[in-house]
């Protein structure tokens, strides 16, 4: 019985946390991004679900890549070139398209990382940025759940000490 209440506390806190984040109405965002050894700038993009993102990415030194997880996008950023070469990992046989800006809709909420996909030096595997698409329900739910765990623990401890003579 106590355990059931404890689980309920955790679940409720997680649910409350997950419902808490909100997002604004979708809009169009034009973003100029640079890539260098070993970071993207801006390193964190905070957008809303449904936003249309138009990215112009340039490299400040060597060739970099831009691999955005969950969005099936892999882009080559070649220095001194006005074009980005966009390809899709799910369609590897397709030839890359040359575009001036990368356009896509942030149709999924959550935190997604974009990574360099062209070996550019020693810290290449750790060259990454973050696209945070509101509402980030996993964050809210996770934080709520952890706090719920604390409260559930307190509840169980207090019930147990109340039962102890």
């Amino acid at each position: 019985m106590k355990v059931a209440v404890a689980l309920l506390i955790v679940g409720a806190a997680a649910a409350a946390g997950a419902l808490f984040p909100s997002a604004s109405a979708p809009q169009e965002r034009r973003i100029k991004m640079t890539a260098r050894q070993y970071a993207f700038d801006p390193a964190v993009l905070k957008v809303n679900k449904g936003d249309t993102l138009r990215l112009r990415i340039t490299s400040l030194d060597v060739t970099h890549g831009f691999f955005l997880e969950a969005f099936d996008l892999k882009v080559a950023i070649i220095p001194d070139s006005p074009y980005l070469e966009v390809s899709h990992p799910s369609r590897p046989d397709e030839a890359p398209k040359k575009v001036e800006e990368l356009v896509f809709v942030a149709d999924k909420a959550g935190k997604f990382r974009y990574r360099c996909s062209r070996t550019c030096g020693s810290m290449h595997p750790f060259m990454q940025g973050e696209l945070v698409v509101a509402p980030n329900r996993l964050l809210g739910g996770g934080l709520g759940g952890l706090l719920g765990l604390l409260f559930a623990g307190a509840f169980l401890a207090l019930r147990r000490s109340a039962a102890t003579p």
């Binding site: 030194d61 060597v62 060739t63 070996t119 550019c120």
Partner: protein, 174 residues
């Protein structure tokens, strides 16, 4: 309780590992570098290095890559030879092109060997250049391919190439 047989057998296995693995590595290297019709082909191994913008004959590996800049290669071939360039990169993607001989431009990816074949027909000095932005020294990443006559005769003086002096990425003395 020592069983001499067990100890000899296990000791032998250890020595087999210590000797066997380098032997296996060298065997794999030999077979990976083997060239079909190898006797008739002039194989030139070049490694591209971003730090310094250098094409070198030196094998750039763990123990020497970070120590110093390698010596720039000056490959020498003859008219009529079948030339095979086996190209490696020690760090990032490089390009390779000998525009006057219509060789390349091709990419040299790190961790694999890129091959390009051609047969030179005119003696002279030809420019090898990197065609893929590889770092701060990319604009100065050149080498000279020397083509001698079919029997090793020197090339005509008007085919001599003068490379622009290196400013950003000076080379060490040979």
């Amino acid at each position: 309780m020592i069983s001499k047989r067990d100890e000899l057998l296990s000791g032998f296995l250890v020595l087999a590992v210590l000797a066997g693995i380098p032997w296996w590595v060298m065997r794999q290297e030999r077979s990976a570098n083997a060239v079909p019709d190898g006797a008739n082909v002039h194989v030139i191994n070049l490694t591209a290095v971003a730090d310094g913008g250098i094409y070198t004959f030196e094998d750039m590996v763990g123990h020497n890559y970070w120590r110093r800049r390698p010596v720039v290669a000056r490959p020498v071939v003859r008219v009529g030879e079948k030339v095979l360039f086996r190209l490696r990169s020690a760090d990032v993607t490089h390009g390779f092109s000998i525009p006057e001989l219509q060789v390349g431009p091709i990419y040299i990816e790190p961790g694999s060997v890129t091959e390009v074949r051609f047969e030179p027909s005119e003696p002279g000095q030809y420019l090898i250049q990197c065609t893929f932005r590889c770092g701060g020294c990319h604009e100065e990443m050149f080498a000279i391919l020397e083509v001698l006559g079919p029997h090793g005769e020197p090339f005509p003086e008007d085919m001599r190439l003068k490379l622009p002096p290196r400013v950003k990425c000076p080379l060490r003395d040979c």
